[in-house]
Assembly symmetry: C2
Homo-oligomer: 232 residues x 2
Amino acid sequence: MTNYPHTNRILVALDCIVFGFDGEDIKLLLIKRNFDPERGKWSLMGGFLEANEDLEVATNRILFDLTGLKDIYFEEVQTFGKVARDPVERTLSICFFALINIHEYDQEAVRNHNANWISLKDRPQLIFDHNQMVDLALERLRYKAALHPIGFELLPEKFTIPQLQKLYEAIYDTPMDRRNFSRKIVSTNLLLDTGEKNQNSATKRAILYSLNKEKYLKQFNAFHYFISDSMR
Amino acid sequence: MTNYPHTNRILVALDCIVFGFDGEDIKLLLIKRNFDPERGKWSLMGGFLEANEDLEVATNRILFDLTGLKDIYFEEVQTFGKVARDPVERTLSICFFALINIHEYDQEAVRNHNANWISLKDRPQLIFDHNQMVDLALERLRYKAALHPIGFELLPEKFTIPQLQKLYEAIYDTPMDRRNFSRKIVSTNLLLDTGEKNQNSATKRAILYSLNKEKYLKQFNAFHYFISDSMR
DNA sequence: GCAAAAGTGTTAAAGCTACACCCATGT
DNA sequence: ACATGGGTGTAGCTTTAACACTTTTGC
């Protein structure tokens, strides 16, 4: 194999922001580092891109390694490329965020990485430029969720409209009007009534819906404007 | 300087999609390659990331090299990382798009790179995954321009509302209603009446506006919904 | 005077906002 | 019975969509 006459080959890392939702708060899966560098500090989960590994393959590998899950929803946020961002050696970091259902992951895998679910509100200082990465990922999540039915990735298979509302309220950190929210969501026709009701509720039981996957995939790239002022 | 015990250092390129607008069509600045590999074929302008160069610095360097312009508006689109995307050697490509006023660039710089303005409608097949890059950049441009006052970057300092409309019609490849478009744009309060009129017009002369920079910067991250059905 | 481009006006329909009211369940 | 949470209704307002009409300029 020939090469380019160019000597500047660079170490490439991937860092992932894993978002979860516990019914009340948006949480991040963060690593309490028990390895160097920056041992003892908090960071995102990361890994290096291997020589013969496609970028998406590496992303899936790192996510599987951390959570034991495959086919996780993720999207790239940005590549961070300041020369001095990693003091050990110049490392490019391709940053992405993933959305997972917080009740379905491999707890042992998470423990093995010394990872913890931390509420966005309590997030600690992270190493390097990881704070910036989280800020940007959150912005991107808000942006995306306002227009696309992306939030469903954070909920269980079957969910109620009030649960979905709590998720949106957590994402945008703002209370929303119950009645307008409900109508807006129903009007998208993305939900299927499962005929079941949420038995956990202490009062009136809410209808459990599932996502109309067919419509979801077909309409995913259409704009929905989930967040209008009437919901705030 | 210590290093990570990791041998997979990878060549990193930057590829840029330069958009321009000539008053009628959206154009791309493309290179007719007079160098290897793929000599004679069309490609995006690119370059390699240097060992001690921040990523944004490299982006600005490549854009300056091609157009002779500084402070160009650009944003990252995505990093392309298939192992086999470049047949010469594995190369990661960080892809971004830039918007420039097509009437203000260094023609000699462009000639030196054997670059040409090609209308989107006539775009040739490009090398490697560059076609995909253009597709994605165009999608991102459409996405962004629907919500943010980004289009102004493609116009001269002073412009008329009909010119702005032609730009939006070119971006979305769809005719829009003159009257609704005008009202929508005016309602953003982003335009300043310069008091001048466009002397080029053969008929009634349109008012020349300039961008209210202060308001533009302040409102840039607010959502504007420039594109609603009423404009189509 | 006429054609073409630019600017302003209007009206019906749709969607948004901010509410009130009713229903189901556990205590 | 009542507190709580969930579902449905509605009036007033704003915005959108789809039009018509008037003004300015060159020929």
